[in-house]
Subunit: 456 residues, 2 copies
């Protein structure tokens, strides 16, 4: 941003989904927002690539679930169509050195899977006692925030296959090893999303049922188009000076923006990097030191057609080896006649280890893995497109952030509590579907309304 | 910093002990350092207050140990005298609702204490297999970095009193609940400091045997005096632009400093807040998201004289209640005839809970606690001086930082590894006595030498 300082009623830091929705909410209420985005694009953790015409690969947020009514409504308003996630067919499992199709796996490991289901029911029962607004007030919060998810899983008497299956499904959500998040933290994820079946079930479940025709990135792009020159790119925020009446936001390489309120729509760890004046309370600062961004890396293999479907497979794999521990069918809508696309997920440890391998080595391992599950054709994709998030300067990890032990208990209260004219957005601060696009919208609207209430 | 850009060979970010030592090393080698400090004082986590003439209270770093040869030499060079920590007399224990003096406690709980000692020996044996330079390469690193210290302690079959005693002693070092640090992380602390007896023993042990006559703050003050106008205060660094040949460092409210190398002498979480251009590798960034500053708060009660000594007490308490879980005698040198001073430590959870109470409530609870241990005179200090670190903008927690589970395993390699012209100092990056002043010196010298090698 160069030239004279810009003025607005509400300065929004970050043009991810949450920030854009917040700005729209401000504009609709008759006030002027100004969105400052560090990157040269809008969207944040939404990032669609189009390597071939009409082929949209979601390196970031990809799905919404059936209960994501905010996102459904938003897509409808923006004129973006939905299409269902392809699910028909068997999942392929690789455990203990053997690849089995769904029916065979569930036959072989019926007891192991039943035991995992019992653990999920137990989690549901525990989650029913946790409030997302105040997880630290749950009757057993003190106990549950002092043990890790991994520690609690280890104590459930599961077989090695059952334990590994549960680990893979949980890492599919948290994107960190289960020893890095407290049990209370997992329960917060369960509550914010409904029940474990929506979240942790080995089927795609309720969180991932529909996609956007033409790519998720249309959502932030269209929101930004509505906002016009109220969105400023390449403007990394360094400083926020604030008083009860005003905020002054400084960016790298440019002058400042002035407003009356500010919505910081960044993941907590990034929000914590801004220099605030006066400084934030210690509780807030120590919280943002304790909510690291998780580790995720997506790999798309593109083929001439979805050949697995004729085999009765759904392109889903669950593997105790990797490099991808899970995968699914990421084709365009069935009517489009587009190519076959399998998406492999490297999450948590796999994002950190295989995700740092040289690309050639990683792609080779991925191709071999796909061939084990979906046959020799899978070894020869026409194209592999991939990407992680830790290296991306303005995101620094995906999908979201969860504190470790004692984080909720001792610091959680500071997560969404405004500090004077500073309101906190981003999906991590949502009460519903935190960690998802749905949560980004929830948080953006809530933060905007907090700012608007202060303007009124 | 105002006016024209300053030029130097090595820009040092942070005028804590590590940064000042680094700058001195650069100057002694015949090159020009420039130290940029965010605060209005030098010293970082060293902070001496003098509420009464000649009465020095260390709100930050206070002691050195007998094996801290770097610090002993530095004090000698700077003409600062040492005096021994007063240790004579019995410690007072408060467990299970009862206050007992040392001999009675050790009689009552002999088996519990012996069991704790066995656990410490076990830790020593484990630590002997860990290298501080490469903790992730230890034979059992993968296992030990996936469990928390608390989890491992819970599995050692200790009695409730033994387990609590071990918790208090460990929190006395880590300043966070033991469930927040991995077992490997604790072992790194043990190795970097020698053996558990130097670190975790309920006696003050090897790390805390001597103090500085006239206050610890003389060390950074004298180092800064040597550096003269090469130290710039009130200059919070926001940006570091770097290439193989040069660095440009931008501060809030001022122009820039230019140099050939930069030593960032900040705790990792603070180092991670600077905006680097080009951005740092993802591994480094995700590390600094995972090394939160711990939680410590010190409370000094000042009396007309050290009345406890005549009672055969050493002013040390160990309590399972708090608010201070430990205390000790913090008087001036015995020859000085100064007042009696007891220092109470609120660490980890106590810093977060009681440390956030209104001061009046906290001081009242502290006075009551001291009276339980040291008699009715202890309830009536002439003065209480106290302070935590989470609210201090340029420190944001004490004493130091330890990663949670998987932190060392997946990210530790990035802790001290230079990124082009950027070298990392601060005690957290030390190989010896990390977390202590001794480590700050070790790290500062090492980082300076890395920078000097690049200048040669």
């Amino acid at each position: 941003m160069t030239g004279e300082p810009r003025e607005a009623d509400v300065i929004v830091v970050g043009a991810g989904l949450s920030g854009l929705v917040a700005a729209r909410e401000v504009l609709r209420a008759g006030f002027e927002p100004l969105v400052l985005e560090a990157a040269d694009r809008v969207g944040g953790r939404i990032l669609t690539e189009e390597p071939l015409p009409g082929v949209f690969l979601e390196l970031g947020a990809q799905w919404i679930g059936d209960t994501h009514h905010r996102m459904t409504a938003l897509a409808d308003e923006l004129g973006i169509e939905l299409y269902p996630q392809f699910e028909d067919g068997e999942t392929s499992y690789e455990f203990a050195g053997e690849v089995l199709r769904g029916e065979a796996f569930h036959g072989r490991y019926a007891e192991d899977v039943a035991a995992v289901e019992r653990v999920l029911r137990e989690l549901d029962a525990m989650a029913a006692t946790v409030s997302v607004a105040e997880p630290w007030a749950a009757p057993r919060a003190d106990e549950w925030d002092r043990i890790t998810v991994g520690q609690w899983y280890d104590a459930q008497g599961l077989s090695p296959v059952g334990r590994e299956l549960l680990e893979i499904c949980t890492v599919g959500i948290l994107a960190v090893p289960t020893v890095e998040v407290s049990l209370l933290g997992l329960l917060v994820n369960v509550v914010t999303c409904g029940v474990t079946a929506d979240l942790l079930s080995e089927s795609e479940g309720g969180a991932q049922t529909q996609r956007f025709v033409g790519g998720t990135a249309q959502i932030p792009l269209r929101l930004a188009a509505e906002l016009g020159d109220r969105v400023v790119l390449d403007c990394p925020v360094l400083t926020v000076e604030h008083s009860a009446e005003s905020v002054t936001v400084g960016c790298r390489g440019g002058p400042v923006a002035r407003g009356r309120q500010v919505v910081v729509a960044l993941a907590p760890t990034l929000a914590g990097r801004i220099m605030y004046d006066p400084p934030l309370p210690g509780k807030r600062d120590q919280l943002t030191q304790r909510m690291p961004q998780a580790s995720a890396h997506k790999m798309f293999a593109v083929y001439d057609e979805p050949f697995w479907r004729a085999d009765g497979l759904n392109a889903q794999l669950i593997s105790d080896v990797g490099p991808a521990r899970m995968s699914n069918d990421s084709c365009m809508p069935e009517t489009s006649g587009g190519p076959g696309i399998i998406l492999g997920f490297l999450e948590g440890e796999n994002a950190r280890i295989e995700g740092r391998w040289p690309a050639e080595q990683r792609i080779e391992a991925f191709r071999e893995e796909l061939a084990r599950h979906f046959g020799p054709r899978a070894a020869k994709p026409e194209l592999v497109v991939e990407g992680g998030w830790a290296d991306r300067e303005w995101t620094r990890g995906c999908y979201n952030a969860n504190p470790g032990p004692c984080g909720w208990l001792h610091f959680g209260e500071a997560l969404a509590t405004p500090v004077g004219p500073i309101k906190w957005a981003a999906t991590e601060t949502a009460l519903e579907w935190s960690g998802y696009m749905e949560g980004a919208v929830d948080a953006g609207v809530r933060a905007a309304r907090e700012a608007l209430a202060a303007l009124a």
